[in-house]
């Protein structure tokens, strides 16, 4: 048995720790049957991650597969008997054929997340195809016309929660703009022993069911003592009136989740081997059902070279937040013969996934302590002024709190790697930036480029915020009144933490913008919901009641998201790229999944170059049933 590291305690009982930590040697192991006593290689074999399948023909089979991550046996909706599913390694330019056989007792599907393909191959039941019935085989066949890091997962029911996900690596035709000696996939996920239908039902009955970081009386007393009663009550006004909790970060937490890295529990952690001096490419994929992760490798700078499979201008960071369904490729160069912790703490700090990069499996490294649990601010609620169900309250006196300001220190920014001639300038609508070094930016520089919100391609919309009449009613508990572009905001829990944290303001396409046209029109989408009733919708209309969004084939359209909730929503458009407006018209990065921060706005451009019907939704699995749209791209269109 390999040595099990017990990380620092965070005030929980042993049984609880085991639950969050998971079981050593748990999971669905392809190397099953290996005797742990057979020797070193065998003892860590199961920690090395999923098997890799190469070629252009694949047989993939869903079957109920026994797994044990917590000490209790459960059945996963696993693909080819492993969680995560095998890594599929394709070559750009190939046509791949994948025969999917369903041995589950329910319908299933596979969606190829981030891939550009004919819509009937996209794998969304009810939109692309009818789904795959029990006992049936469906053949996917499509040309691979892109390269990079992607993933695949079930798009049926809540099967993603129960293990139906895996990585896709597509090797490019052209040489890559960077080199590396080792190449690892790092799939992050969240496992629960509970039936996902039960999780969903519990959230509907008691939305704070999984939040065990609620404010307590002792905390309140301490605050009153510190601030005085009047100021305390004043600061609590918004929360008290909105009937919301600023500790509500994740709907589902480490109370039920065991966080996995490449299917390995935190008790052991994934194992990545290297030789000193090697450059390692880590392909991070967030395949979790509900969990955002904050990832860092203490002691190593990470150079981010791709986002959602697409090359970006390299940027050196200490840490990045990865939303559900996003991918980031980073390069690291360990200089020492020692072990490094790959640490992915859940956004609410209720647990973490972890791994070890090491030249020798016998070497271990302490797991870093988790950061304090984040607290939402008024800015996260989309206000300088309140946006509540009962309008007319005077919230004007609410001050922006100090930690609400985005991290300004970009001194860690590796500008020398920027191939573009211009400096990135984003988020200028609300703050001056402190760019490379400590030089204050000159007024003259600011005039050379449009600011965020100028309406120009690459710079976001200048539209005013308007709430539709459908946003009013018992199904919507909040409407942001002053949502801001917060591209340079690393997000709640990461602000001013002393580390250089990646933000969307750091993302610039390597090479020129794919489609430099100005948008022909704009579509506003408000992300809406009622947290306590656990209802989710867009523009106040849930999927079941919504008309499809109509796009005209060939048009360039801008999507404006306004987040009228207190949750992060990772929005995923199928079939077409989301060209995220980060403040440089010449280098607009392409993403497939875009985080819309709580109470914020964000914009991206879409080239409607894919005929057919597509899904468009929040990728948090328990938000998805309601916060979902069908998108139809046709030559008639609606443009």
């Amino acid at each position: 048995m390999s040595r099990i590291l017990l990380p620092p305690s965070y005030g929980t009982s042993l049984s609880r720790r085991r639950f969050v930590q998971g079981l050593a040697a748990g999971g669905a192991m392809l190397g099953m049957g290996l005797n742990p006593l057979q020797g070193n290689a065998a003892s860590y074999q199961h920690r090395l991650g999923a098997q890799v399948l190469r070629g252009n023909r694949f047989a993939l089979t869903y079957s109920p597969t026994p797994v044990n991550f917590t000490g209790k046996q459960r059945f996963a909706t696993a693909i080819n008997g492993s969680v995560p599913a095998p890594v599929l390694r394709w070559r750009e330019g190939d046509t791949v054929t994948l025969n999917l056989t369903n041995h589950l007792a329910e319908d299933t599907s596979i969606h190829w997340h981030g891939l550009i393909l004919p819509y009937k191959m996209d794998g969304v039941p009810g939109i692309s195809f009818p789904g795959v019935k029990p006992g049936e085989t469906f053949t996917y066949k499509f040309p691979v016309i892109q390269s990079g890091t992607y993933w695949y997962h079930s798009h049926s029911g809540f099967q993603e929660q129960t293990g139906a996900y895996g990585a896709i690596i597509i090797d490019p035709k052209e040489p890559e703009p960077f080199s590396y000696d080792r190449d690892y996939v790092v799939v992050l996920s969240d496992w629960s022993d509970e039936d996902p239908d039960n999780i969903y039902a519990k959230l509907k009955k008691m939305s704070h069911y999984y939040n065990f970081r609620e404010r307590t009386v002792p905390q309140q007393m301490a605050e009153i003592q510190e601030k005085g009663f009047a100021r305390y009550m004043d600061e609590r006004t918004m929360w008290n009136r909105m009937r919301m909790s600023e500790t509500d970060i994740s709907d589902v937490t480490g109370y039920t989740y065991t966080f996995l890295m490449n299917g390995v529990t935190p008790a052991e952690g994934w194992l990545g081997l290297f030789k000193r001096g090697e450059r390692i490419r880590l392909r991070f994929i967030n395949a979790a059902a509900m969990t955002f992760f904050d990832v860092r490798i203490p002691g190593l700078k990470m150079t981010v070279v791709a986002a959602d499979g697409q090359y970006i201008q390299p940027v050196s960071v200490d840490e990045f937040r990865i939303g559900v369904a996003e991918t980031y490729d980073v390069l690291v160069e360990p200089k020492d013969d020692r072990a490094y912790a790959v640490f992915a703490q859940a956004i609410d700090r209720s647990g973490y996934a972890r791994g070890t990069l090491t030249p020798d499996p016998a070497l271990t490294i302490d797991v870093p302590a988790m950061d304090p649990a984040p607290i939402l601010t008024h800015g996260d609620m989309g206000m300088s002024m309140a946006g509540m169900d009962h309008s007319g309250h005077d919230m004007g006196k609410i001050k922006m709190q100090e930690d609400q300001k985005p991290a300004m220190d970009h001194s860690g920014h590796n500008m020398s790697n920027m191939s573009g001639p211009e400096q990135p300038m984003s988020g200028m609508d609300h703050s001056m930036h402190n760019m490379a070094g400590n030089e204050q930016m000159q007024q003259g520089d600011m005039k050379t480029k449009p600011m965020m919100g100028s309406g120009k391609a690459g710079y976001g919309s200048k539209r005013a915020i308007q709430h539709a009449s459908t946003e009013y009613g018992p199904h919507v508990d909040m409407r942001s009144e002053a949502p801001q572009y917060r591209l340079d905001d690393p997000g709640v829990g990461l602000r001013n933490n002393g580390r250089k944290v990646l933000t969307y303001a750091d993302l610039f396409k390597l090479g020129p913008t794919y489609d430099p046209r100005e948008p022909g029109r704009e579509i506003d989408l408000h992300l809406t919901g009622n947290m306590s009733r656990y209802m989710w919708s867009m523009n106040g209309i849930k999927f079941a009641d919504a008309e499809p969004l109509q796009l005209k084939y060939g048009e360039r359209v801008r999507i404006n998201f306004f987040n009228d909730t207190m949750m992060n929503h990772p929005m995923h458009l199928h079939g077409m790229w989301s060209d995220l407006e980060t403040g440089d018209a010449k280098h607009i990065p392409r993403k497939h999944t875009v985080i819309v921060q709580p109470g914020a706005r964000i914009s991206y451009l879409v080239s409607a170059d894919a005929l057919g019907a597509w899904a468009y939704h929040c990728h948090l699995i328990y938000h998805m049933p309601g916060m979902f749209r069908k998108v139809v791209v046709s030559k008639g269109g609606a443009a």
Binding site: G157, K204, V217, P474, R533, W536, M624
Partner: protein, 232 residues
């Protein structure tokens, strides 16, 4: 009867909506707010205060009951069957029927009320009742929660009953009839299951108090209580 049809149609719904991962499945919830024994001079009563609902996000069929048994006999029993409709983000409007089975004779009421979460996190249930022979009643319940830890919760609550006219047969007088206030400290072993101890104070007022005195009953009582709270 319209109400009965409504109940039947609600109960049939689950079989119709099982397809796919619908965003709004029909769910059920049984919630026992109080199942407790109270320490009194005489035999200790057993008290049940519970609810059951079946329905969707915005529409539910909601049952509420309060039962008090002493020495194997049911002294007080009330059941409400309500249609509950969300009218605001934190508020449901509820209307239907209330039946008081004990004490005898039975009383039936039509009920309309609101239930929800008021600003500053007060849970509120307020209802008006109209009965036979021009009887009327009003009830206000409110509850708050102080969390001492993530599992140890102190919960004060209050219930106030008012009646429109005297009903001597069941010992009720017009005006403010009774107030009950409780303070319960529970420990949530799981979210769904919490034993508690507490104190419960009640007092009758006005004509109701006079009726009680005439029957030789106390008009004010303070009791130590112990019980469990559970839901699923």
């Amino acid at each position: 009867m319209k109400l009965r049809n409504m109940i039947y149609s609600m109960l049939l719904l689950p079989s119709l909506v099982t397809a796919g991962a619908a965003d709004d499945p029909v769910l059920t919830m049984l919630k026992i707010d109080q199942l407790e024994t109270r320490n009194t001079d005489g035999p200790d009563p057993l008290v049940l205060d519970g609810q059951f609902w079946i329905g969707r996000d915005l529409d539910k069929l909601w049952f509420k009951t309060e039962i008090e048994r002493v020495d194997g006999a049911t002294e007080e029993a009330e059941l409400q069957a309500l249609y509950s409709r969300a009218i605001a983000p934190y508020w449901d409007m509820q209307f239907g029927w209330r039946g008081d089975f004990r004490p005898k004779p039975e009383r039936n009421w039509l009920s309309v009320g609101v239930q929800g979460l008021a600003p500053y996190f007060f849970e509120v249930d307020a209802a008006l009742f109209v009965g036979e022979s021009g009887r009327s009643a009003a009830r206000l319940e409110a509850e708050y929660e102080f969390m001492f830890t993530q599992r140890l919760v102190l919960s004060p609550e209050i219930e106030i009953n008012l009646y429109g006219k005297d009903d001597p047969a069941v010992g009720i007088g017009s005006g403010l009839s009774d107030i009950e206030a409780g303070l319960r400290l529970r420990y949530e072993i799981r979210r769904e299951f919490a034993p508690y101890i507490g104190i419960n104070w009640s007092r009758k007022f006005g004509n109701t108090a006079d009726f009680a005195k005439a029957d030789g009953e106390d008009i004010e009582d303070t009791q130590i209580v112990a019980g469990i709270r559970l839901w699923f």
